[in-house]
């Protein structure tokens, strides 16, 4: 079997694996549900996920070690991940192949020629990694921190030594200069701008990283649209998520693998890794007379790496098409360099790299000027249970959408701007859009999150039982009553839906009962009294007075009012003896309603939002959960210092 065929089989395998991973990502034990399927394995294979989270957090979450395998194999073999594994690459390749069919060979070859714009992806990678790693220089700049001025001065001295010892070695000299300049800059910044906010790091690779992108698009757009399990799922921001996906595929109809060539930061990372790879593609024309110059090796090249001339090795995705196309059989994969020469890496100008790095470094400090992680926090941003503190969360979330797909009530929704630009596509809880609130006994989102932005919780920890009993359940927020909208509070209409639905025990919603005269039914006159009914000059009323909460009060006052059991042609039927309760002809009477006005007890409320979801006041519910008192943040503790339990961070 030809290697091209093997490559297509492999691509199909990983495409099916990706779609299957999204499809089965629903809590359940049947074969088409979560069971033990490694739904995040492809994400873990993505080395950009591991590298970026290492930069932002200084640690590598267990599963992400798989990424080092990808990197090692790439360093050995070339960009096999892009050409053989990446599902987004496969989808683009399919679109490209389909649109190429209608093109003439010349036009086809034109679309597959290398282009200087392919460098853009390296600059994007630079910007994203600088954004992720900029805080690493904090010890150099923060003179008040550990080590004081010693680290920057040490860097300057090391730079000077390199300059002096590397007179004849240009890279040593430039490195030395770079170190000396950077050290001086740090020393200056540390002195001039103590406590500056210029060094803020954040993880934004997930926006462009193809594996999270394809997971997110399939989970949040494709599957809800085709609805394979017959469920109607609401997803916010579908146009944006789906629009990006469609655009990526549409552009590959114009230029094959457009995204891989010009945008993909993962491709760029792998492109940098292959610089010294052992095996590589190239022309093996020892005597220089075998090539007839037909140029066919260019015709189906997926990476636009110019195999007919000096091959751009960093761009090659090992599609093997050139080998397949060459009529002279001189294209091949070998440890020997290409006889027509090769360019191992992207030719990037120092200025462009510095500009990209500086852009990446400045964007986040700008986004954080409003202090969204401090005083400017958004209380309506409720994160899933087990989420790390907001900053740590943003430093880990790769926006892959796994948590959103797995949520059994679909209460986890992707943010658009609710968490600021920085939080785009991160998960938030929307209690209106889900089919219920956050389930008290569910730990699904943390169990599938590939980076532990949502930490995996044990059920006992989530519910605050067994060894976690002293810590109490995990709280994601607190419900607040909007008395201006609540039916019993604002309109005198009986309702205890929120109290009845509150799932915690003891309930976090209690009620206080009051009796209130119903407006318009307060000055009634008794016309006639029968054994269990009273005839009144009752005006038309829409209130279903016989619901059990309405009473007829007579001369004996509201304390001795009789429960209304029915209403018929001016006769109010009551439970009890009206005559015994003092009702006589011409005595005054009034309809009173028993209202149970709800209160939230912050001590027991876990912020699950079931009350908000069930509240019959549609639109903006009369009880709403905000992130106050969430377990993950001490700063958001309600009534700080009054001993509300279990805050930890």
């Amino acid at each position: 079997m030809r290697l091209v065929t093997i490559r297509r089989i492999t691509q199909g395998f990983f495409l099916v694996l990706m779609i299957g991973s999204c499809l089965v990502n629903r809590v359940g034990d049947r074969w088409y549900e979560l069971r033990g399927w490694p739904v995040s394995w492809l994400l873990e294979l993505d080395p950009l996920v591991g590298l970026a989270t290492v930069l932002t957090t200084g640690s590598l979450y267990k599963g992400l070690l798989w990424g080092t395998l990808t990197l090692a194999l790439t360093a050995l073999l070339g960009r096999f991940f892009c050409g053989w594994l990446c599902p987004l690459g496969t989808l683009q390749q399919m679109v490209g192949a389909w649109t190429d069919k209608g093109r003439r060979p010349k036009a086809r070859a034109y679309g597959r020629q290398s282009h200087p714009g392919q460098k853009i992806k390296y600059l994007l990678l630079t910007a994203l990694l600088t954004m992720a790693g900029v805080e690493l220089v904090c010890p150099l700049v923060d003179l008040s921190g550990q080590g004081g001025w010693i680290p920057p001065v040490a860097v300057i001295l090391a730079g000077i030594v390199l300059i002096r010892t590397g007179q004849k070695t240009p890279w040593k000299r430039s490195t030395g200069w770079a170190m000396a300049v950077a050290g001086s800059l740090c020393l200056m910044l540390g002195n001039l701008l103590p406590g500056n906010r210029l060094l803020a790091a954040g993880l934004q690779t997930g926006i462009l990283d193809p594996i999270p992108l394809v997971y997110r698009s399939v989970s949040l757009v494709v599957l809800p649209l085709i609805s394979p399990d017959g469920t109607f799922v609401v997803v916010t921001g579908g146009l944006l998520t789906g629009g990006v996906f469609v655009l990526v595929l549409a552009l590959s109809a114009w230029r094959p693998r457009f995204y891989c060539r010009y945008v993909c930061p993962l491709g760029a990372l792998l492109g940098l890794t292959v610089r010294w790879s052992v095996w590589r593609m190239g022309r093996q024309d020892k005597n220089g007379d075998a090539c007839t110059g037909c140029g066919r090796c260019d015709h189906h090249c997926e990476g636009a790496c110019d195999p007919a001339n000096e091959i751009q090795w960093a761009e090659c995705v090992l599609c093997y098409n050139c080998r397949d196309d060459c009529p002279e059989r001189i294209m091949g994969y070998s440890t020997r360099p290409s006889t027509t020469g090769e360019n191992p890496g992207p030719d990037l100008s120092r200025r462009a790299v510095l500009t990209a790095g500086a852009t990446g470094a400045i964007l986040l400090p700008l986004a954080r000027l409003g202090d969204p992680l401090g005083v400017g926090w958004r209380p309506d941003l409720v994160r899933p249970p087990g989420s790390l503190t907001e900053e740590a969360f943003l430093n880990r979330c790769i926006k892959c959408g796994l948590c959103m797909r797995v949520c059994p009530t679909n209460v986890i929704q992707p943010t658009v701007l609710e968490a600021g630009i920085e939080g785009l596509w991160t998960p938030r809880l929307d209690f209106r859009l889900g089919s219920s609130g956050c389930q008290h006994n569910c730990i699904a989102c943390g169990s599938v999150c590939p980076t532990a932005a949502i930490r995996p919780l044990a059920l006992e920890e989530r519910m605050g039982t067994a060894s976690f009993a002293d810590k109490g359940p995990v709280r994601i927020g607190t419900a607040f009553m909007d008395r201006g909208r609540c039916l019993p509070w604002a309109m005198g209409i009986p309702c205890i839906v929120c109290q009845e639905n509150c799932p915690v025990s003891p309930k976090a919603i209690t009620t206080r009962t009051i009796m209130e005269t119903v407006a318009g039914l307060d000055r009634l006159i008794v016309q006639q009294v029968s054994s269990r009914a009273v005839h009144l000059n009752l005006p038309f009323t829409r209130s279903p007075l016989a619901g059990g909460d309405y009473f007829l009060a007579g001369p004996a006052g509201p304390q001795n009012a009789l429960r209304i059991t029915g209403l018929q042609a001016g006769w109010i039927q009551v439970a009890g003896d009206p005559a015994g309760a003092g009702f006589r002809q011409q005595t005054p009477a009034a309809v009173v309603v028993r209202l149970q006005q709800p209160y939230v007890d912050p001590l027991h409320c876990i912020g699950c939002g079931v009350c908000q979801h069930e509240c019959p006041v549609r639109g903006r519910a009369a009880i709403r959960v905000t992130s106050e008192n969430e377990t993950r943040s001490r700063a958001h503790a309600l009534l700080a210092g009054t001993g509300l339990p279990h805050s930890k961070d």
């Binding site: 397949d324 006994n441 599938v448």
Partner: protein, 332 residues
């Protein structure tokens, strides 16, 4: 495909590489297959709810669930001390009817977990008590029907009394598949408990003719505002569009029944009723232009309330007495 590839020869090396790649794919597939047996904690956490807690003497509700639904929350139990935690607003009503315990659990459609209902099983101690809460909760104008004699449905709920249990199955929304699953579960519950409505014999005494469907209920205390007139079964009848209520109450002895009938008669007389001519041992009273009839027969008090005329009232009371007589004869 290019023309060149048609005459393409695969080198042994490429063949080996291809073979190696396919083997790797097979190994990955096998690895994934093996891994999927090690259930994700999220799945095992969910399964924990299928099994009732061992220490608790719960009704294993999950075992009654049809295939189309699965547990969506753990079973919870409430006793008279904790009932208010669950149903704060209505707890009193249950206490007054002899409440013993409540078991609840949520179930969701397996295909669509967004659709769920919560099952409330109230153990009321006796069928009479169960029926009492059933009838007190029931609202008018609702479709009767279900797996038991005493059942009714709302668009998003099923309510029924069976044996000593009162059941509510309340859906998150009005959905046909969800309610079909709720019906199936209620039916299985009833079948599991076995038929036992014999205790509520009074129910059978109301003749079908003219009776309003689903109108029979049990008033546990102070029926018609008459202090001490407890445990009274009532049924609504319609005569030419005029509603009439019939009632039956059983007492320990025939004497007690006789005393209760006299209390009822005296109550109406005291409130301005006028006695009308009547057969022996039957009181017929005209009060506010409606007719009350009350009599006792063996251990039972039989009555008709607010009838439009004497004949209608006496006719209905007589039919109930006849039914009672037949039942007694059948037993002897």
């Amino acid at each position: 495909m290019s023309e060149a590839s048609e005459k393409f020869t695969v080198t042994p090396m490429e063949r080996w590489v291809g073979f190696g790649v396919l083997l790797t794919l097979a190994a990955i597939a096998f690895g994934i297959y093996r891994v999927q047996f090690r259930f994700n904690p999220a799945v095992t956490a969910r399964q924990a709810f299928s099994e009732p807690a061992a220490a608790m003497e719960t009704i294993a509700l999950a075992a009654l669930a049809p295939d189309v639904i699965q547990p969506f929350s753990p079973p919870e139990q409430f006793d008279p001390d904790t009932l208010s935690d669950k149903i704060n607003g209505k707890a009193e009503l249950y206490f007054s009817a002899g409440f013993r315990s409540l078991t609840t659990q949520r179930f969701a459609l397996t295909d669509n977990p967004a659709l769920w209902f919560e099952l409330f099983v109230y153990d009321m101690g006796t069928a009479r008590n169960a029926f009492s809460v059933f009838s007190m909760q029931r609202r008018g104008g609702l479709e009767a029907g279900g797996p038991t004699l005493f059942a009714y449905a709302t668009p998003n709920g099923r309510f029924l009394a069976h044996d000593r249990f009162y059941l509510e199955l309340v859906g998150a929304e009005a959905s046909e598949p969800l309610m079909a699953a709720a019906d199936a579960m209620a039916r299985t519950f009833v079948e599991n408990i076995g038929a036992d409505v014999a205790e509520v014999t009074e129910m059978a005494l109301f003749p079908e003719e003219g009776r309003v469907e689903g109108s029979r209920s049990l008033v546990s205390s102070d029926a018609f505002g008459i202090t001490g007139f407890d445990q009274v079964f009532t049924a609504e009848y319609q005569y030419d569009g005029i509603p009439v209520t019939a009632y039956v109450a059983r007492r320990e002895t025939a004497e007690a029944a006789g005393t209760a009938a006299r209390v009822v008669r005296d109550f109406y007389l005291e409130y301005g009723g006028t006695p009308l001519a009547a057969p022996e041992n039957i009181a017929v009273i005209d009060i506010l232009d409606t007719i009350e009839v009350v009599l006792s027969h063996e251990q039972y008090v039989i009555g008709v309330h607010e009838a439009p005329d004497r004949e209608t009232a006496l006719g209905l009371a007589e039919r109930i007495r006849k039914r009672l007589q037949e039942t007694v004869d059948d037993r002897s």
